[in-house]
Symmetry: none
Subunit: 413 residues, 2 copies
């Protein structure tokens, strides 16, 4: 079964607000094997909402609407659903009494307008709200279709969905086993990745494959939906094995763990520690590493030698070397890594020096040019990469990703 | 004129991803007086997307579509727009050559599939992409309607919209003077802020007021929309003066500049420099400071002393002090700041030590407990704060915010 989600509220059409209810609802629906095929945000406009509901019902069997159930004229959801289904609404004295009670418990009198919240659409099942005044409604429509109205406040919606919708929905959908495998990949472009694996995943509608890219980090998600867990696992293995064979060592994680976790695990296994010396990334690599709880077991710490003179003062990079090769150079990267390793006593040290832009400074290294140094028990190695026409935040993120990737590969040798 | 925004991509129909491009687009459109009346997220499904585009065009004069312009079969936006408008597409040799060039500059060969990105819809104006391969398209349709296709990656979309769409759009909409004032506030809670200023802004429908909170940083946005700039400025001044009077020194910025920019400017004006010594934030404060282009003029660099022994080795914090007071203590924060100042020769040094969680370690400092040290020409001062029941990323972000806030206040004295 397919679902569409409609979030109602003009405030979610401003530059500062997103609808997050749909993330919770999508998670819940997916777990029952229901796919969300479209999401919509509609303002407090009765006509527009009526049209949107009618169209969603034409395309999908299950339409969830959140918000617009308050007591004011702006709250148009009940009216729009009634109009879309061409049904009447009637006043439900029991609901009204319940809302009145709720106000009394807060030692207040129910304002007259709250009676609007007791209007129920013909044929609806009432969904109780244990966190607020507006009840929800579950309405069976023609052709096995269902419209559900839920309140907008997330804590009301979540409680109502879990208590009232999930059990009803489970009766409508066949039981389904969903299994997910995540590969994480580094050191290739998104289009190279897709070109390599699309001949594999295109052969399969199930599992569904998604390729995600973020700051040089790539992910492939496979999601198998079968009637049994064993089938789903077998399907994941069938497709996963082919992707594994096609990508080989480009895959750094087969269980969704990020690079900093994978790298940390290898260091711990080797009884080794890590230090960093950062210039262009300004602490971003250390910051990323220390997002991992417990990283102090393998991450010693490091240096942010942002001004050139600190590369000499804190890391012992010779002034002559900086003068002759420049701060953005293979030689400086090597000296930074070596200095950081010596001064911290860590087993490994990674350095990053580069020009993240927006303008070239005295060194005249081109914007986007980054050198990475890795010093270890067997000496020091450097890597160079240019990301032209990338902006400052991306060059910094790419550089940190590449540094971790290079270290991780080194640790795998 | 009304606009609808369609975000394309199956990944935005998962429980983990929201479309954020529409927030930027809404902001830009609103500034030109264009209202966004609906937003949609559609998966990588050609038929469904074609229908969604056709319907949006029936209801609204301006339809913006983001994403689905990649080189793969999944990228269906070009095809769907062509189908919705019943137009042909043709191969544009110039665009293809440009994409090939871009690959060459990265020393790579353009994969054959990238040629798909050079397909152009009949009658489209091409929108150049200075951050990626896929060009956008601006297509005038019947009845003064416009469809715009933009790439999905936010940095590509933003650059393209600003350079290519905004000027075209300005010719279509009547001029409207929109003036925005942003106050940035630190050192109070969101609810205290709202309680203080809501009696002021509630009196006005124009300017529209929004209160935003992010990791301890608060912003108040006033947006005045008038037919002349003078009117809008007068309105902003009327409301802004009252907010200014109510908040006083809690306001650290009246022009949207973030704390790291404000602080940097004060340091430059004083001919002073800054160093940092971080433990709990693991480089996050240095990373945040160095997001500012040109920050090397005032930011020397610093230390990430994540393991306890590095606090001694790199910053000279006496082992006895660590043993008697613990790594998370006022004494350690003071010694870290003093050590960083001495070893870098910077005018000021800021230190952060704390327990960001999720669990307490040997030191037994409670989760969320953070000490900040500020060493300067007149000695060293420390501050302590506990953020109970905050998670690790939030404690780290709050701590970096508080450290900058304290330094900024110190520099204002």
């Amino acid at each position: 079964m397919n679902a569409e989600i409609i979030a109602v509220g003009s405030e979610m059409l401003t530059p500062d607000r997103v609808d997050t209810n749909s993330l919770f609802l999508t998670d819940q629906l997916n777990q029952m094997g229901v796919e969300v095929v479209a999401k919509h945000v509609i303002g407090d406009d009765r006509e527009r909402l009526t049209t949107a509901i009618r169209r969603a019902l034409e395309a999908s069997g299950f339409v969830l609407i959140s918000g617009g159930l308050g007591p004011t004229e702006d709250d148009v959801t009940r009216d729009a659903v009634a109009a879309a289904l061409e049904r009447e609404q009637f006043f439900h004295a029991g609901i009204s009494a319940g809302i009145e009670d709720r106000f009394l418990r807060m030692k207040r009198v129910m304002p007259e307008i709250n009676k609007r919240q007791a209007m129920v659409i013909e044929g609806a099942e009432i969904l109780s709200n244990d966190r607020g005044t507006a009840p929800g409604q579950w309405i069976a429509a023609n052709g096995n279709r269902v419209v559900v109205i839920l309140p907008g406040p997330p804590h009301e919606l979540k409680s109502m969905f879990t208590r009232e919708c999930e059990p009803r929905l489970r009766k409508l959908v066949p039981p389904l086993a969903i299994r997910i495998q995540v590969f994480r990949i580094s050191g290739m472009s998104e289009s190279d990745l897709d070109q390599t694996i699309s001949p594999i995943y295109k052969k399969y509608g199930n599992p569904a494959t998604t390729v995600l890219a973020h700051n040089g980090d790539l992910q492939v998600h496979l999601r198998a939906r079968c009637s049994t867990e064993a089938e789903a696992n077998a399907l994941l293995k069938e497709v996963g094995d082919q992707i594994d064979a096609a990508l080989g060592e480009k895959i750094y994680s087969r269980n969704a763990d990020p690079l900093e976790v994978i790298t940390g695990r290898k260091l711990v296994a080797a009884g080794a520690t890590l230090a960093v010396a950062e210039s262009a990334t300004g602490g971003g690599l250390a910051e990323r590493i220390t997002t991992v709880p417990g990283s102090s077991a393998w991450f010693a710490g490091g240096f942010v030698t942002y001004q050139r003179r600190l590369k000499t003062a804190l890391l012992g990079v010779p002034e002559e070397l900086l003068a002759s090769h420049g701060a953005v150079s293979s030689e400086t990267a090597a000296a930074m890594a070596t200095g950081a390793r010596e001064r911290t006593g860590a087993t490994w040290a990674v350095s990053i020096t580069g020009n993240a832009g927006p303008s070239t400074d005295g060194d005249e290294a081109p914007v986007g040019s980054v050198y990475i140094g890795i010093a270890g028990p067997d000496g020091v190695e450097t890597f160079h990469r240019i990301w032209p026409s990338s902006d400052r935040p991306r060059v910094r993120a790419f550089a940190a990703q590449m540094a971790l990737d290079m270290l991780n590969r080194k640790l795998s040798q």
